[in-house]
């Protein structure tokens, strides 16, 4: 069976497998024989977790260059490991690093690269990748004509599922030959960002996002998010104003999200914002301006004061649960 490589990063975020990795392994198992390529150590727990998803083979490297330089050494690892196992496909996550690894592996293996996949299926053995383009206004099906295809896959493109039978993967250490130019961009400082305790924006089932209308006070947005177990997002106006960290931005130049429920609060819904959220399943909008474009795409809209509507909704949810 053809090998499908899944890249797993244990350098930046060691320990457990990220939910997206479980999803990628599930996709790989449907397409062929899943091979995990791990940057960093492979603990017995990690090997068992990989085995639970049907991984038969693990190639990994703990060379210090993987952490000391930006992206390129990890791409060298993935490209060389994929070549060693004659992979038919390489799957990576769709974050900035994942996309850049995909880009460089594409050059190294002369392989077609398709980013932002929301589904991957097979047509007579060829992987067909589905994605949204032009800010969600079209969906396209794309494929590679090259021997190898590199795909960066968005979170929740597939539901993670354990293998019918767990495997005990063979773990091999590989020695990567780094290209000299891969060791040019030195990581001189790395500062962990404080964890919010809330779900990550791209992983969340529900997102509550605030914009200009919150006027510097994200309290009501965060309270609603917390009773719903939601991630907190923001419009560019709110992040530019410094009311919330830039990595909360949803939109054309921020995160592109497609949750089950997107609650837009005090956001007008200009194109910059819509580009990041209009493929959400259900959209709810709260805005005091009835002319806001957000109401043109909302499934349920409330023209009203968010500082009254949100606390009332929070109390009502708590009351019903009590």
């Amino acid at each position: 069976m053809r090998a499908i490589v899944v890249f797993i990063d244990q350098v930046d975020v060691p320990g457990k497998l990220h939910p997206t990795s479980h999803q990628l392994l599930t996709l790989a198992r449907a397409a062929g024989e899943p091979v995990a390529v791990v940057a960093g150590p492979v603990s017995p727990e990690l090997a068992a977790d990989l085995g639970a998803y049907g991984v038969t083979r693990v190639l990994h490297s703990e060379q210090p260059e993987l952490a000391d330089y930006l992206v390129a050494p990890k791409a060298d690892l993935v490209a060389q490991a994929a070549a060693a196992v004659s992979a038919a496909a390489v799957l990576v996550d769709n974050g900035p690093q994942g996309k850049e690894i995909a880009a460089r592996v594409g050059v190294a293996l002369n392989a077609g690269v398709i980013t932002d996949a929301v589904a991957v299926d097979s047509d007579a053995g060829t992987l067909v990748v589905h994605k949204s383009v032009l800010a969600g206004s079209y969906t396209v099906a794309a494929r590679a004509s090259s021997a190898v295809v590199v795909i960066s896959v968005k979170s929740h493109s597939v539901e993670a599922a354990l293998a019918a039978e767990a495997t005990a993967p063979a773990v091999e250490s590989v020695e990567v030959a780094f290209a000299p130019s891969s060791l040019g961009a030195r990581v001189v400082q790395r500062t962990p960002r404080a964890a919010s305790g809330r779900p990550e924006l791209e992983d969340a089932r529900i997102v509550v996002a605030g914009g200009r209308g919150v006027d510097g006070d994200f309290g009501p947005v965060e309270e609603l998010a917390d009773v719903l177990g939601a991630a907190v997002g923001a419009s560019r106006a709110a992040t530019d104003a410094g009311w919330i960290a830039h990595n909360a931005q949803v939109g054309q130049t921020g995160k592109k999200v497609a949750p089950q429920l997107y609650i837009s609060v005090g956001i007008s819904g200009a194109i910059q914002q819509k580009a990041g959220m209009q493929t959400s399943k259900v959209i709810v909008a709260v805005n005091k301006d009835s002319e806001s474009p957000i109401f043109e795409i909302a499934d349920f809209g409330i023209v009203g004061d968010l500082f009254k509507v949100l606390p009332q909704a929070v109390e009502e949810i708590k009351r019903r649960r009590a």
Binding site: V107, G136, S145, A179, G184, T191, H246, G304
Partner: protein, 268 residues
């Protein structure tokens, strides 16, 4: 090393204006490029280059900022706008055989063009194009040119021969450093792009724009375009436009109505 004059290449792309509805067209589902402009995200790259060269005495001190585009004849408008904003010269790669190039073929042609420009200290790009949105060109270009890759920079400094950027991820904020020459992509957090002024618009008319064909790049027609691309789009469907649902005006009970809606949708 002191702050000597630099040669910086900035990638500029001619893209459909995101303020309008955008469409795919034709059998190969290519982007309809009517109503196109200089990609908004490339203005941050250009600003970054101009800020660095301004600090070193600008064009008078021998600094060069070359705006490089790849695209059909109309894409010259992206170079022209860049020259008006302050780039010192322009290069336009254009050839009918380039039509339909995917990211891989595009980065191949861009890399070949940059190699024709003589010594380059920095290549600066935006974080993505606003049409393709793949963000993979900077990494591919860095790999093809053998340049250190410093991407998604939310700030950028060049001191002497060393470039330092900050890269803000979800888990970490990183400081990345490299010796020149290097490639940097900047986010929309990196700076506030300047606008062209009257003087710049007049000055742009005298600036040089070179046009390069595939033959000038030493590339065969089948290395790029539809034939040279490693990916293809089989099918495209316009997503049905979202329609407005129920809109209510709060008369004191809207928070409860919101919870009723979520419960009816089985979202809580």
């Amino acid at each position: 090393m002191e702050n000597s004059a630099l040669s910086i290449v900035v990638l500029v792309k001619y893209v459909p204006d995101t303020q309008f509805d955008r469409h795919l067209t034709g059998d190969n589902h290519r982007i309809d490029r009517n109503e196109s402009i200089l990609s908004e995200l490339d203005e941050y790259a250009l600003e970054a280059a101009l800020a660095i060269t301004d600090a070193r005495g600008g064009a008078k001190a021998g600094n060069r900022v070359t705006a490089l585009t790849l695209g059909p004849a109309a894409a010259a408008a992206a170079v022209k706008k860049s020259l008006q904003i302050g780039a010192t010269e322009g290069v336009h790669i254009t050839d009918d055989a380039l039509a339909g190039s995917d990211a891989s073929a595009t980065s191949l042609a861009l890399a070949a063009a940059i190699k024709t420009l003589g010594p380059v200290d920095l290549v600066i790009t935006g974080m993505a194009s606003t049409d393709g949105e793949t963000s993979i060109i900077p990494a591919q270009l860095s790999a093809r040119l053998g340049l250190p890759q410093l991407t998604f920079a939310s700030s950028l400094e060049v001191e002497g021969n060393i470039v330092t950027v900050r890269r803000d991820g979800d888990d970490f904020s990183e400081e990345i450093q490299a010796d020149l020459p290097a490639l940097v992509s900047v986010t929309d957090q990196a700076n506030e792009p300047r606008y062209p002024n009257f003087k710049g618009i007049i000055a742009a008319k005298k600036k040089k724009v070179d046009t390069l064909s595939l033959a000038d790049l030493g590339l065969a027609p089948d290395a790029v375009g539809h034939e040279g691309s490693l990916t293809q789009v089989d099918a495209a469907a316009e997503r049905p436009a979202r329609t407005a649902g129920t809109i209510i005006t709060d008369s004191g009970e809207a928070g409860i109505a919101l919870v009723d809606f979520l419960a009816a949708q089985k979202l809580i």
